[in-house]
Every structure is written in C-alpha cells, then in structure tokens.
Symmetry: C2
Subunit: 108 residues, 2 copies
DNA sequence: TTTAATTATGCCAAATTCGACATATTAAAG
DNA sequence: CTTTAATATGTCGAATTTGGCATAATTAAA
C-alpha cells in the first residue's frame, strides 16, 4: 500500500526524499503533505460552498484559473501561501483553518 | 496606530496592496500576515524549547542559518512551506499547529 | 576588556512558483 | 447529437524563493 502511495505522490510531482528511497516517507514528509492536502481540499469545498467558479476565485486573489485547478488537485507546485490566500478570500477564518488542522473539521 | 503598523510592515518588505493605500489592510491581508507571524513565532519558541541553534535547525531541514534568522524575524520572503517544514522538524504536530491558529496556544 | 558562539543582514545564481495563455477534457443543458 | 460552461493540463517568461556564503551585530563567557 505504501508503495502505491509513494508512486501516486511521485506521479503528482512530489519529490520523495532519501528516506523514501526505502519506500517509506518520514513522519515530517507525511505530515507536510497531509497539511497541504487538507488545505487544498478545504479550498475546494469552501469554493463549492459559496458557488464560485475557479475563475472567480482566481480573479479575487489576482491569480488564474489554471492555478486554482492545480491547487485543488494537490499539485505540489502550489505554495501554501497561495492556498491560504485563497482560503481567506473565501471567507475562511484563521480559527477555522486551525480547526481543520486539528482534525475537528471534516470538510468545512 | 494603524499608520505605524503599516509602516512597520512595509519596512519589513510586505507589499501592502491597494486597499492599504488608504491606510488600512484588508481583513484578508491582516489575517494572512497574522498567520505567518504566528507560525514564525512558534518556530522561534519551539526551537528555543529544544535548545537548538538556528544552524542546527537549518541543517536538519536542508536550509541555511540565514534563512532561519529571516524566518524567525518575520521576513515576508520566507514561504509558509519552509516555516511548516521547520515546525514539523522541531517535532510540532499538525494538531499543535492547528491549535496555534485557533488561538488555544499561547507560545507553545 | 577579549574571545567565542549565536543571531542578523545583504548579496548571488539556481531553483521554484508565479500569472498568463492556449488548449484539452469534462459536465451540464438544450 | 451540439453548445456552452467549467475544470484540467501544459508551456512560457517574469517574479519570487531558495541555499549558500560573507560579514555585521549581538550575546555570553572568560
């Protein structure tokens, strides 16, 4: 199972470091990717909740539709900064983001 | 007071957008900077808690001492990604980061 | 004080991320 | 089916962030 997950991550473009050369991700690598996926998923769900298109969200933060698509798809070439800016623009509060990372939020 | 804060931010290098041309930061800009400062402060306190030097932390995440210094100083030229990687390497959990953003953590 | 250790600041070229644009692909509606 | 809106994918040059390095500035210990 881990082998498959690693392959999936690499297909998405993640650089799985030396620790992963033996198939496993380090706890830090796992947690880092986990946080990114949590946040990108929250952008997707919050945008849907507000009925915005990717184009609308993109314009609202001075970005482009293609980057929002990549963001929501978990593309590693998207910074956490851009993700957070998107979330905030969607009306998500710092507190809500905290709850998400705490695991108290399912999909928001 | 707000005038002073804006000036401080600009001195640090932040680009305070059009909304700030009238002296105020938008709620999103405020929250974004707030999140970054919270996390950078947590890196500083967690590192101190473990008695690591900036050099040690830098090596542990494949970075450099100068970037850790800038990170802890709230330099805007440091990505949230690097900050999160540093926090995780210091043993901070995703859950703890969540609590920090929720406001349930004073200094950690 | 002098010395050593740590942290802060500035610059560089390389790597990464950016917005943008074009163009598939998919989904929904007619 | 066709049309249209929305999303996904790929590429480009520009902008940002990177690690590394030099060197101040600060702090602590002697």
């Amino acid at each position: 199972m881990d082998k498959k997950r690693k392959q999936q991550l690499e297909e998405k473009g993640f650089r799985v470091g030396s620790a992963a050369d033996f198939l496993e991700l380090s706890p830090e690598e796992e947690a880092y990717i986990d946080i990114r996926l949590d946040i990108s998923n929250m952008v997707k769900s919050q945008r849907a909740k507000r009925g915005w298109t990717q184009e609308q969200l993109a314009r609202a933060i001075g970005s482009s539709q293609s980057r929002i698509a990549k963001l929501e798809g978990g593309d590693p070439g998207i910074s956490l900064d851009l993700m957070i800016k998107a979330l905030l623009r969607l009306g998500t509060s710092k507190k809500q983001i905290g709850k998400l990372l705490e695991g108290e939020l399912e999909a928001a």
